[in-house]
């Protein structure tokens, strides 16, 4: 079982101190852990069997991500395997897959997906980065924000406009760009929740036409599908982290004494923990819903609606459970010393990833 496998891994390799050391390391993730991910087969989970993967079921990714969420795993599973690998699997030719998915699943390739721009907010169709044809090359120019794993990524999946005006639904392509290409400029940083990302600009970067994934100009719907899968993944990750926040809070309330008694005996706090439990259960339920629907034969629209419903609802749970966990811990909850503060930061980060609650509620209503 995936769940057992992650729990064993976490028990052996991923204590809170391990994680802090990994974040403080140069690369911001553990290459050793990453190789274990590969050995344990986790990197194959997002891929269908005919692509050499484990099956590509959303319900499997959900299980994996939930456990990652509990331990606050920072290794770039989502950017490399779900987003980057997902785009190649969805759009790429047999050759693209052969060339990239195999090393990816073996743990030898890091990817990053450069999909969002400063003026585009959460809109994947808002692509100002251009790719102009020049013989058998594209010349790519533009700038992308918050490319997850952008620093370590050897290859970048970049959404570019090969035609049309900003925000046109057509004319968007995804091209593979070697991160070492001339004209690629990265500004790397750690995110508030301990992951690595980069702002990446492209200045007249020459990219072979063969690096375009799928039909030129028609990448948007695949892009949305892949990002929806990533959205489901981070939602599931949040569910794991929220459960942990609740568990830590309940435990703390049983030991922390104030006014001569454990604070967990105060009914006002008890009912707030009951509310946190309810939020956690609803978040888990709606993520189960979305994962099942992604694995079903429903229409694309219904699947997108399901993911947006999940991300919206999980976002509300994040706000509520995260804030309450910190509040009930009191001062110690806002220090870097305890895992609670880090869980809080991670779920808050997830709240923003791929669109916050308001964005997804509106998307749900409009689909």
């Amino acid at each position: 079982m995936l769940q057992d496998s992650v729990q064993k891994f976490v028990h052996r390799h991923y204590s809170f101190d391990d994680r802090n050391a990994i974040i403080d390391s140069g690369s911001g993730y553990s290459e050793q852990c990453w190789q274990l991910f590969a050995e344990l087969g986790w990197l194959t989970v997002p891929f269908r069997e005919d692509d050499g993967g484990f099956g590509g079921l959303a319900t499997d990714m959900m299980v994996l991500m939930e456990e990652f969420g509990k331990a606050m795993v920072v290794e770039p599973f989502v950017p490399t395997a779900v987003l980057g690998g997902g785009l190649i699997a969805a759009l790429g030719s047999a050759q693209h897959k052969e060339q990239h998915l195999v090393p990816l699943m073996e743990g030898k390739l890091q990817l990053g997906a450069a999909l969002y721009e400063a003026s585009g907010r959460y809109n994947l169709a808002s692509v100002g980065t251009t790719a102009k044809r020049d013989g058998d090359h594209y010349v790519v120019s533009g700038s992308k924000i918050l490319v997850l794993n952008g620093e370590a990524a050897q290859q970048l999946l970049v959404s570019v406009r090969t035609q049309g005006a900003e925000r046109d639904e057509h004319g968007i392509s995804v091209v593979l760009i070697d991160a070492a290409s001339a004209g690629v400029h990265k500004k790397a940083y750690t995110t508030v929740d301990g992951h690595r990302a980069a702002q990446i600009s492209f200045t007249d970067v020459r990219v072979p036409v063969a690096n375009c994934l799928g039909a030129e100009g028609e990448a948007l719907s695949a892009l949305r599908r892949v990002v929806d899968r990533a959205t489901l993944c981070v939602s599931a990750e949040a569910v794991g982290a929220l459960d942990m926040l609740l568990q830590k809070t309940v435990e703390y309330s049983k030991t922390r004494k104030q006014f001569g008694t454990a604070i967990g005996t105060f009914q006002a706090l008890q009912h707030r923990m009951a509310d946190m439990f309810i939020e956690c259960q609803l978040a888990r339920s709606i993520v189960v819903m979305a994962a099942m629907k992604l694995d079903s034969d429903l229409t694309e629209q219904e699947k997108a609606r399901a993911v947006s419903a999940a991300k919206s609802r999980v976002g509300r749970a994040i706000r509520k459970v995260g804030q309450e966990a910190v509040q009930l811990h009191g001062g110690i909850g806002i220090t870097n010393e305890l895992d609670v503060g880090h869980l809080f930061k991670r779920v808050t980060g997830i709240e923003t990833l791929f669109g916050n609650s308001d964005f997804h509620t509106a998307r749900f209503a409009s689909l």
Partner: protein
């Protein structure tokens, strides 16, 4: 548990739909759609049709007349019922006293009572709450004193829903005052025609006499009407309270109401030349309610899935009660907000059968505030939402 149904389940869904289309009486359906209050006869007539079909009691064991459906089938049926606005059976007989009888009653009692419940020949009501024992149900005071082969019952029961129609009442009564409060309670079935019983209506804030107080003055009840052992009634009542939680969340009804709300919003003027569907704030509220219902639906399916693999329905069902009532009450608010000024007229007559005057408001607008008022009860009864949170704290969180 799966996001899409199997072919057999889809077939069952279609069967249920066709049955409802053909057999659910048109006049009752019209009443529901026009928000006309249903009378005893409406309930009984429809229930007898279900009985004839063999679908009266999906949750009963098959040996007593249950349908033998899977959890998913029950779910599908509940959803189809909600879609047609078909009223569920009044819970007191079918869902409350019957399980106690078939679980704890003797053979004689099973034979005597169950067939009439299944066939809707007898209307039951509930005698649990008392004026001074709300959430603290076990503090009840109505006494039953054994005299020969009878109990003599004295006391007052309250929040007795639709007791004005009832033939029988099931009561928790105190048979021993000398022990811990939970340990002196017995479960008694009482014929409402017994001398000494008086039913007096309580008017709720929506103006309806939906509930009653029931007074018992030296009411003689034969000993054979005792369920199980004397002083063990609390155990039976408690088991009942945690079982029979199917559809406690009210998901099918909330779904149908939200669909209708969305449709009505598209017909309701926003005062600026458009409709409420153009109002981003209102649209956002509907979406949030829909999302909450989706989450609730899967919370229920997860609970059902756990039950179907043999786990007892756990304290998680407390969530279904809390969230189910909260979202239903939120939908009440949305209907009221949609109706705006038209929620204010108090015109109960136009929702009673036979009204032929000029109506106020369209699409039952004038009922929206009344529904909102009435349904505040949902978070109070059936174990108040506060009690549910206590259960979560104790049984789940270990606090």
């Amino acid at each position: 548990m799966n996001a899409s149904f199997t072919a057999e389940e889809l077939q069952f869904q279609e069967d249920a739909r066709q049955f409802l289309e053909a057999e659910f009486p048109k006049d009752i359906r019209a009443k529901v759609e026009q928000r006309v209050r249903l009378e005893k006869d409406d309930y009984v007539r429809w229930q007898k049709i279900l009985y004839k079909k063999g679908w009266a009691a999906p949750n009963w064991p098959e040996e007593h007349g249950g349908t033998g459906w899977t959890a998913v089938q029950k779910y599908i049926f509940a959803e189809q019922m909600a879609r047609f606005g078909a009223p569920e059976p009044v819970a007191f007989g079918m869902k409350m006293v019957a399980p106690v009888i078939y679980t704890y009653g003797n053979e004689e009692q099973k034979k005597r009572f169950l067939p009439d419940i299944l066939a809707s020949n007898v209307w039951w009501c509930q005698g649990y709450s008392e004026p001074n024992s709300g959430s603290d149900l076990a503090s009840l005071k109505t006494s039953a004193v054994r005299e020969g082969d009878h109990y003599i019952v004295n006391g007052t029961k309250t929040w007795n829903t639709l007791g004005q129609y009832a033939d029988w009442i099931f009561c928790l009564v105190r048979t021993d005052n000398s022990v811990k409060k939970q340990e002196g309670i017995s479960f008694l079935l009482i014929d409402m025609k017994t001398p000494g019983i008086k039913v007096s209506p309580i008017y709720l804030i929506d103006g309806t006499p939906e509930v009653n107080e029931v007074y018992f003055e030296n009411v003689k009840v034969p000993v054979e009407n005792l369920i199980g052992e004397e002083n063990k009634g609390w155990t039976y009542a408690k088991v009942l309270l945690t079982h029979e939680r199917t559809n406690i969340a009210g998901v099918p009804r909330s779904k149908v109401r939200l669909e209708k709300l969305r449709m009505l919003a598209a017909q309701t003027a926003d005062g600026n030349g458009g409709t409420l569907s153009d109002d981003p704030i209102f649209k956002n509220k509907i979406a949030e309610a829909e999302i909450q219902v989706l989450a609730l639906e899967y919370a229920e399916l997860r609970a059902l899935a756990a039950v179907s693999v043999g786990k007892a329905p756990g304290p998680e069902s407390s969530i279904l009660k809390v969230v189910g009532t909260e979202v239903a009450q939120f939908i009440d608010e949305l209907y009221m907000e949609m109706a705006a000024w038209q929620s204010l007229p108090f015109v109960p007559d136009q929702f009673v059968e036979g009204f032929s005057g000029e109506e106020i408001g369209e699409n039952g607008e004038a009922a929206t505030a009344l529904n909102y008022f009435n349904n505040r009860k949902a978070s109070i009864y059936g174990g108040s939402n506060e009690i549910q949170k206590n259960i979560i704290c104790k049984a789940v969180l270990g606090l």
